[in-house]
Each structure stands twice: as structure tokens, then as C-alpha cells.
């Protein structure tokens, strides 16, 4: 199956700093999503971005499908940004519209005041 690698595995930032999280995948995808899991376990969808660039407030994401990677940018980080960031992909079309995502292991971000 498709492999999804995220880097770095852990990241510690001072509040106000910027960061870039990377997601590499081993094959072509038709679905790529970024999620944030807060310290209480809730997973929130940040972006649906199989290609191109999107921005939402201090967060933006870019996927270069031809080179099989995606980047998540966090600017002016806040303590509430702490948690684990996951990249998830779907390889091709799984059939019956099932949208089966394969998740990376995540990047654990800690933002300190």
C-alpha cells in the first residue's frame, strides 16, 4: 500500500514562531487531507488539498502532487496550535466511493509561551 511519511516527528516552537511540516507519499493520490489532533484527542480537518495551495488564517498548505509531497505552514504560532498534525491520503479510487485514508504518524507540535 501507499506509504506516508511526515517530518519532523516532533517540533517545539516559541510562541510567535513560524513552522513548516512536511508530508511525503509514495504514490499518486487523489485525496490528501491535513488534520489537527488537539491534546484532548479531537481530530479537526484543516485542509482538503490533493493539489495546489490553500490558506485559512494563519495556516496554509501546498501540495505538489507530481513530486508527491505536501507542506503545512503555521505562521505566528500560538499555544492553542499545540497537538499532533496528521497528513492522510487516498491512493487512486478505492471503489464504491469509500474514501479510505492512509494516515502518516504525525508531527507533534508543542508551542511554548
Amino acid at each position: 500500500g501507499i506509504q506516508v511519511e511526515q517530518s519532523p516527528p516532533d517540533l517545539i516552537l516559541q510562541e510567535g514562531a513560524n513552522s513548516t511540516l512536511r508530508c511525503n507519499f509514495s504514490d499518486s493520490v487523489n485525496n490528501l487531507q491535513w488534520f489537527h489532533q488537539n491534546p484532548w484527542g479531537q481530530l479537526i480537518n484543516l485542509f482538503y488539498i490533493p493539489s495546489g495551495t490553500k490558506q485559512n488564517g494563519r495556516l496554509s498548505a501546498t501540495t505538489v502532487a507530481t513530486e508527491r509531497y505536501s507542506l503545512l505552514y503555521i505562521s505566528s504560532s500560538q499555544t492553542t496550535d499545540s497537538g499532533v498534525y496528521f497528513c492522510a491520503v487516498e491512493q487512486g479510487y478505492s471503489g464504491a466511493g469509500s474514501y479510505q485514508l492512509t494516515f502518516g504518524k504525525g508531527t507533534k507540535l508543542s508551542v511554548i509561551p
Binding site: L43, G97, S98, Q100
Partner: protein, 113 residues
Amino acid sequence: SQTIHQWPATLVQPVGSPLSLECTVEGTSNPNLYWYRQAAGRGLQLLFYSVGIGQISSEVPQNLSASRPQDRQFILSSKKLLLSDSGFYLCAWTGGGAVDTQYFGPGTRLTVL
């Protein structure tokens, strides 16, 4: 708006006991439904998905089973729990139409002793 519920929030069960976790979605019809498990180490593993009532696909052979008795209800069960079943269980849904984002419930933390 759509809402996804899971219960119980936490559960401590002895080895060999049965399990039933429930997930319900409100505000949508004919969703695709998913069960994931997140063990220590952060990765999410897809266990089951369903594209309709009574339609269950299993991704990982194990002592767990899933059922979808109603359009917006998804149940995860086991007849006899193992220590290795401990983890954080997450239910998710997508719209079931065109490729779409996944939305997660709050999760159930299961500890098997």
C-alpha cells in the same frame, strides 16, 4: 449542521469481556462511516468502513466486528477483548458523494486490563 457522537467517552474493561461502542451522525443522510484505532505512537489505523446499511468492509483481521443497523449508526463490537485492543477508537464520516473531507467524532478511550 452535521454532528457526530460517540459513547462512551472512556471505558475500562477486563480481558475477555465483550465490547460495544456506538457512533451516530446527525444532520446528513447516507454517509460513509469509518472506525479507526489509535494506539500509543499516534498513528491511526482504519479498522472498518461502511458505505451503506448492512455493508461493512474490514481492513484488518482481528477479534473486532462492526455493524451498521441504521443509516447513521455504526457500532464496533467484540465478543472477548484482548489486552492489545486497548487504544483510542475514533468514528468518522464523509458525505458519500464526490470526494470529500472526513469528520471525526470525539473518540472513546478503551483500556483493557
